[in-house]
Amino acid sequence: MSELKTDPVLNTQHQTAPERAVAELLVNALQLEVAADSIDPEMRLFGEGLGLDSIDALELALAITRAYGFELRSDDQRNHQIFASLRSLTGHIEAYRTR
């Protein structure tokens, strides 16, 4: 998987297995009308790209807590980075998940 992430060609086109799982969670929790496997891991989640908003952020935080067992906090200065893309969000989840 780590080879996949460092491959500049594959980087923006293919989801790793954990990314795919988070993409499924995004689509299910927010009832998005896109296919989970069509979400570009580098695409912006908020604003442009997937076009999520602050209500989605709250909903997403609940889904993440339920699925991965840890709480998101907004005093984390890296929140902007964490929520930047499917890839960054997955990285954060993989680092902090308790299940």
């Binding site: 076009g51 209500i55 952020a57 709250l58 609940l62 709480e71 906090r73 005093d75």
Partner: protein, 453 residues
């Protein structure tokens, strides 16, 4: 440099705050900020605000920085513009309308506006400053709603009107001067509800306001745990639901207060069960602020604040409060007596989501103004205010355009919350001979496109 005039007196002057110098107004980084510290920060910042500036666009995210910037602008007679739209396009629109406006924020990015940094220390000075008095008629803030043309409509807030809202709230919720409450608010200070309850309230009511993060359930719990009792949670139905679903335990509350959308009765019952505190709701409008409240489980009757008059006229219900023009409410009401009323439903043009509101005809006008769009309409799901994942949709007749390109173009023009989550292109809308879109025909069209509304 000093343009901040010292205290004058007169019947139409209201102090910046009526709290004692040592009273705690804000709770920041886990430390109390006293009246004296707040006054010192406001007076200091006021000296450094740009000269000859018309309006301050207060973009501060930290509640304390926001409060200091607001007070400093007030002392310099510069009205604060409160906007929830930080997009470059949104700020550019404001700048066009208020040409001498500048932005105030903790950290100024590379926005399109000149800026003034706000980094208050929150430290009490050796001697408490004298409390400045402000003319009640002075324009203190301008808040915005989206009008039926699609452009934001400004609403002026006089200083006297803002002071009156805090004093009325203190009476309505029986805040105790001998035992001040601490408010933990999940609503941004730029929103009228957040502005009133988390920024203005401490200045004229026995309350302090928490100034740290309070968005995710984990934040809210940590904030409430960090502050002394009695604790008031000031929040929204979405956050009440999120807190209950997250199963986050909360320390004992004096009360939880919700506004911006109707609170589901079952949710209110669950909240009271889990938090062992009354679950209250505030009814208000951006134009006039908070005007009535109720305990959700007590039923559908709202009690007006002591200084508010609500009237049902033939056309619309109007509400009057001190130092404010009477305004027509977006809701139809039934008045029971001078103090109590029921809500009977909303006038149809208004859409509310996440505490923001938009005019449906305004949104439709924006859609129809796009190049290549021959016809189009925004569709509001019936459960928009109940379902967190529900958003608007748009049905468009635009033979030469793709749904994605329409969505991309709407992005710069529509509040992100009101962007359609799905754009469907069709050959024609089922308009009747009068040009109107019968709801049934529209629903049938959506059903054919597998899009339940």
């Amino acid at each position: 440099m000093a343009r901040v005039t010292a205290s004058a007196t007169g019947p139409d002057l209201q102090p910046l705050t009526d709290r004692a110098p040592g009273a705690v107004l804000f709770c920041r980084h886990g430390r109390p900020v006293t009246t004296a510290a707040f006054l010192h920060d406001a007076l200091t910042l006021a000296e450094t605000l740009p000269d000859a500036a018309g309006h301050m666009i207060n973009l501060c995210r930290d509640r304390y920085a926001f409060a200091v910037a607001f007070a400093a602008a007030l002392l310099r007679r510069q009205p604060c513009l409160l906007t929830g739209d930080r997009s470059e396009a949104g700020l550019a629109t404001l700048a066009q309308r208020f040409p001498r406006a500048y932005a105030a924020a903790e950290d100024l990015g590379t926005g399109p506006l000149p800026g003034c940094p706000v980094r208050p220390a929150g430290e009490a000075p050796a001697t408490a400053p004298q409390v400045p008095r402000i003319p009640a008629r002075q324009l203190a803030a301008v808040v915005f709603t989206s009008g039926s043309t699609g452009a934001p409509v400004p609403h002026n807030k006089l200083w006297g009107a803002l002071v009156a809202r805090s004093q009325a709230a203190a009476a309505q919720f029986a805040l105790d001067a001998d035992r001040p409450s601490t408010v933990v608010g999940t609503v941004p200070p730029q929103h009228m509800y957040g502005f009133e309850l988390t920024v203005l309230l401490p200045l004229h009511a026995p309350a302090a306001s928490w100034c740290g993060p309070a968005f995710y359930p984990g934040d809210v719990n940590a904030a409430l745990t960090a502050v002394p009792a009695p604790r008031l949670l000031v929040t929204t139905p979405l956050q009440v639901r999120a807190l209950l679903r997250a199963g986050t335990g909360l320390p004992p509350l004096q009360a939880a207060i919700s506004a911006t959308a109707p609170l589901d009765r079952d949710l209110a019952a669950e909240a009271e069960r889990h938090w062992q505190a009354p679950m209250l709701e505030i009814f208000g409008a951006t134009e006039v602020g908070s005007v009535a409240s109720r305990r959700t489980l007590d039923g559908d009757v709202w009690a007006a604040y002591p200084d508010v008059v609500v009237q049902q006229d033939t056309e619309a219900a109007t509400v009057s409060a001190p130092w404010a023009e009477p305004v027509a409410l977006a809701d139809h009401i039934e008045t029971l007596d001078a103090r109590q009323f029921r809500l009977l439903g909303r006038r149809t043009d208004l859409v509310k989501l996440g505490g923001r509101r938009a005019s449906l005809s305004g949104l439709n006008r924006i859609l129809l103004g796009l190049d290549g769009v021959a016809d189009g309409v925004f569709v509001v799901p019936g459960d928009l205010e109940q379902r967190a994942t529900a958003r608007l949709m748009a049905v468009v007749v635009a033979p030469r355009r793709s749904p994605d390109s329409i969505l991309a173009e709407l992005r710069g023009r529509v509040d992100p919350l009101f962007l359609p989550r799905r754009v469907v292109c069709v050959d024609a809308l089922p308009r009747n001979e009068l040009g109107k879109l019968p709801q049934g025909a529209l629903l049938a069209l959506l059903a054919r496109h597998d899009m339940p509304a």
